[in-house]
């Protein structure tokens, strides 16, 4: 095991642990902070794999901008901690149990298949300019499609927010 592999496993464990903590915390601020840890660890992983640019994006955009926005929102609306689960625990078990078996079966097959399964990839370190040129030259359709995805998400968020508010005001005025 090389020193890179040791680092990889440490960082991977950190990502999984912090992501697990993030989705189980009842207090929203704690959850967001754990998510920040998870994102920064992901950035380290990118750096380790020889993609510093993506790592920096991860820190600036995800851990920086988006998570700060999350923190602002959580602190502004002061969501009460400890809301009920959105659906019964039985559903969680059914969903993740079934999907988990499917994934586990596939992964077991991958792990028990001997060393020829691993195939080293050449590390590709691209300059920001080359990366940007490649992205907007070869995959600009995908970039434009993501803007539609964001529009849909925005409409969805707006609808969810308004529907919730209407229900509350409806309850107040019988």
């Amino acid at each position: 095991m090389t020193v890179y592999a040791v680092f990889f496993y440490i960082i991977a464990a950190l990502i999984i642990a912090s992501a697990g903590l993030a989705i189980t915390r009842k207090h929203m601020v704690h959850a967001v902070l754990y998510l920040v840890v998870s994102f920064i660890a992901t950035a380290l992983l990118f750096y380790l794999l020889g993609a510093p640019l993506v790592g920096i994006f991860q820190v600036i955009l995800y851990a920086g901008a988006i998570m700060v926005l999350f923190l602002f929102i959580v602190m502004m609306i002061r969501m009460a901690p400890g809301a009920d689960r959105p659906f019964p625990a039985g559903h969680f078990i059914a969903a993740f149990g079934v999907c988990g078996v499917y994934i586990a079966a596939a992964l077991v097959l991958a792990f028990f298949s001997g060393p020829e399964a691993g195939r080293p990839m050449a590390a590709a370190a691209a300059s920001p300019a080359a990366f940007g040129f490649y992205l907007f030259d070869q995959h600009w359709l995908a970039v434009e499609m993501i803007s539609i995805l964001l529009l849909v998400a925005l409409i969805g968020a707006l609808h969810l927010g308004r529907a919730g508010r209407r229900k509350q005001s409806g309850n107040k005025e019988p």
Binding site: H91, A94, A95, L141, A142, L151, H159
Partner: protein, 473 residues
């Protein structure tokens, strides 16, 4: 240089979305929104049919326009148009929200069209996400549903989980081949599909499409989402969304060249499991929409038989099955929308006396249910015949026998619905269902199509056969 002409149907759909976007900004006017949606979707359907002959590669080769994608686009657009036809009585949705409703429906259609043409894993992933996200939100458009956001949230969690798994699978495939372009993968995958990394990556990447088609381990969202969504959205999920899922699944499985027994076994497992689970669960349902949801799960299993056969007949059968499912499921939902006043959910026994209240609808329902159960001379029988024949060609007689047993099970609940519509006497004096003339014509068109597809499927199967030409090595 991008040849923009090839991209016209998508641009048109985007522009139609833009129209509804501007409607959203002003005060909600349901009548205007409905009229605009009817005109825009009808014109779009005509446009997609006219552009069916286009061929070429656009956007640096990540977007392939060919007969396969164009016919699927026309099918998806028909699903959209038919769904809009049901929106005359959109009482399940808040009046002020109709333009948002149409906007999301439009964007979801656009995403499915992009999905039908995408030949790059990145583009496939993003278009699948757009269509799913629009549907998550649309499911929550139901006005005054007692369970609130829970079913939509459940749908979302399932979708997010399976798309994460799919992304992991894509990453493995990309890692193994160093390319995410289907044209390049096509030459390399068949030789290496039994390598563990490739196999694992491939099977995991199918999960997102299985979720879309509601195949067995990924079907648990279906009954709740169908039940909670406005009827029109359930109809859309059962028609256009399923067609798009079949389009991309056939393309993905064609990548393997049908050379791998391991992949075939995975597909056989999910096929048998979803047929059996869907049919057994459907027997216990009282709510019609839940029943139709489980029947969708069962039909996903039959479609998988065609896809896993991985021969020309199998792909042809799967495509034809997609078309027939769209027509039959739409007809069922058409009856549900008309029989349920005020956008309520109805139980099976609420159909009592339907043949007196609305004879045309009752006849359409009869043919649609016969088709779903695979009774000749309907389109559903031809579709089942094609996929079973494909499986027989591959020597999978036992799989066909299991499927036949499942068909017999499904007869029980389909005939249960028919019994309610034709033989059960209604509790009170039956009130006639007002069916307007255009709606009656639509029902008649569906009836004619279902019978014609059963008696003269030759042109449709020939078209489906021509579509699969580019998929086989």
């Amino acid at each position: 240089m991008t040849d923009w002409i090839l991209f016209i149907p998508e641009l048109y759909t985007l522009a139609a979305g833009g129209v509804f976007f501007f409607f959203c900004l002003g005060r909600g006017r349901p009548g205007r929104d409905y009229a605009a949606a009817m005109m825009l979707s009808a014109a779009g359907l005509v446009l997609t049919v006219c552009t069916a002959g286009f061929e070429g590669l656009v956007f640096e080769g990540v977007y392939q326009v060919d007969l396969y994608s164009q016919v699927f686009k026309a099918l998806i657009y028909s699903g959209f148009f038919l769904t809009v036809c049901l929106c005359a009585d959109l009482s399940g949705v808040d009046k002020a929200r109709h333009s948002e409703f149409y906007l999301l429906l439009c964007l979801s259609t656009l995403a499915m069209m992009l999905l039908a043409s995408s030949v790059h894993l990145l583009t496939i992933y993003i278009s699948l996400e757009i269509s799913s996200y629009s549907l998550y939100v649309l499911v929550y458009f139901r006005r005054g549903y007692p369970k609130g956001a829970a079913p939509a949230f459940q749908y979302f969690v399932f979708g997010a989980a399976s798309s994460a798994v799919m992304l992991f699978g894509f990453a493995l495939v990309y890692g193994a081949f160093g390319t995410a372009h289907m044209a390049e993968l096509m030459g390399q995958v068949p030789a290496r599909i039994n390598e563990p990394v490739v196999f694992t990556g491939f099977v995991l990447s199918l999960s997102g499409f299985f979720f879309k088609l509601a195949v067995f381990p990924f079907h648990l969202w279906a009954p709740d989402a169908y039940e909670a969504a406005p009827h029109q959205v359930s109809a859309y999920i059962a028609t256009a969304s399923k067609v798009a899922a079949i389009a991309i699944l056939v393309r993905m499985i064609a990548l393997t060249g049908g050379q791998s027994d391991r992949v075939a076994w995975v597909l056989i497992f999910v096929s048998v499991a979803s047929m059996t689970a869907g049919n057994l669960a459907a027997m216990a349902q009282k709510d019609i929409k839940r029943l139709l949801a489980f029947s969708s799960v069962a039909h996903a299993g039959y479609v998988m038989i065609g896809i896993l056969s991985a021969n020309a007949m199998g792909y042809t059968g799967a495509i034809f099955y997609g078309l027939s499912l769209m027509v039959m499921k739409f007809t069922c939902f058409m009856v549900v929308v008309k029989a349920a006043d005020g956008g309520r959910n109805i139980k099976t026994d609420a159909l009592a006396g339907l043949h007196q209240r609305a004879p045309v609808l009752a006849l359409a329902l009869l043919l649609a249910l016969f088709g779903l159960a695979g009774i000749p001379p309907t389109i559903g029988f031809t579709a089942k015949l094609l996929v079973f024949k494909a499986a027989m060609e591959q020597g999978l007689l036992w799989l066909v026998i299991i499927a036949m047993l499942n068909v017999v099970i499904s007869l029980y609940y389909y005939l249960g619905v028919l019994k309610a519509a034709y033989f059960t006497a209604p509790a009170s004096q039956p009130r006639a269902i007002a069916v307007s003339l255009p709606f009656r014509l639509l029902a008649l068109a569906m009836i004619v199509f279902m019978v014609a597809g059963g008696l003269y499927p030759r042109y449709m199967t020939a078209l489906a056969g021509a579509m699969t030409a580019g998929l086989l090595p």
